[in-house]
Assembly symmetry: C2
Homo-oligomer: 209 residues x 2
């Protein structure tokens, strides 16, 4: 979509679609698909409901759009795990990237969490298709590292699940973490400690013995 293409988006259209997707992420990430109303999204986007439905035909269309936009970013870091690199370094980098993502865009994480909690009705095919393919590939990489004695003997799949769990937890359970640490526990310092703790335990736990 450039200035010359056949279907150039008007300025207004671009802006409004952006506003809608942003508002939709806000609401869907909190209440899930069924718990969200179109009025809520429209209100957050400061737009009338019919106007919102002028840009997206239905609530489901909005959901699909915001989910797709989010999913790519959310799953990308795993691809960067490099078989040629030093195993513990690669894993450390992966953890750092995922925690950074949780800090920068927690709503994306929660949107995804909500979708999975509800049984992944909209992304089931992505999970058992593309995602599974990447994970299978990376599992092979990890297995190779283990065979070379450069990593502790652990199940590669569950290792990946563990990393997902501990990194996304900071976005998904933010409310709980804030309550336990006290409201003052916001900001970068808290994420730094989190990353350091997670990294230390996992890396030491994965060191070959």
């Amino acid at each position: 979509m450039s200035t010359t293409g056949k279907s150039r988006k008007s300025r207004i259209k671009t802006i409004n679609e952006g506003l809608i997707l942003e508002a939709a992420l806000d609401v869907f990430s909190r209440y899930g698909f069924r718990g969200t109303t179109v009025d809520q999204i429209a209100a957050r986007a400061e737009m009338s409901k019919p106007n919102l439905l002028y840009y997206f035909k239905s609530k489901e269309d909005i959901y699909e759009a915001v989910l797709e936009k989010t999913l790519a970013e959310w799953l990308a870091p795993l691809t960067d795990l490099d078989a040629e690199g030093e195993p513990l370094d690669e894993i450390r980098k992966y953890i750092a990237a995922k925690i950074a993502l949780s800090e920068r865009n927690p709503k994306a994480s929660r949107l995804f969490a909500n979708e999975i909690l509800q049984g992944a009705p909209s992304v089931a095919s992505v999970l058992s298709g593309p995602l599974r393919k990447i994970v299978d590939r990376k599992a092979k990489t990890i297995r190779a590292w283990i065979a070379q004695g450069r990593l502790a003997r652990v199940d590669p799949y569950h290792l990946i699940f563990m990393i997902w769990a501990v990194t996304q937890h900071y976005a998904d359970f933010e409310a709980q973490i804030r309550a336990v640490l006290g409201e003052g526990a916001t900001g970068r310092k808290h994420f730094d400690i989190a990353e350091q703790t997670v990294t230390t335990v996992l890396i030491e736990g994965l060191r070959p013995r």
Copy 2:
């Protein structure tokens, strides 16, 4: 309204309240409070909607009841972490207990996850009250273990968060795990590998150095 005591519950009442709470856990754990309808709960409980509302005044009443019933069980294992025990053993037991809970009652975990994702509107006071108190106490225990050189130097709070994350992940993200591992990956074997992986990495990662 009784024979002896001041408020003995009739057989039918006991049975039906149980059916309702079970059905409610089923639906709330999947769709969250806002995404759940009273009709859905009534249908799962094989009961008419007015009849259901005869036992619980409102949707919110049902939610509070099922949440409270679940919360106690869900948070209990942490209490058992014993300052007098061997640190790595205690943590191993705690992990085992939490994973067992995820396997036995994944819906409870998902109910809780949904509540937290939505900002913990109904359990905020529990989180910043009783839960926080327990966690503070256990954090002190962990700190003492570290001071005695019996545990690696990590932040106690984030260690607890890590354990919550990796154990509850198997319940909360079940749909994703099934998709990635293939549908055949159900059953106890898969949970055994999970527990072994999680335990190995965390325990080795926490061994004092």
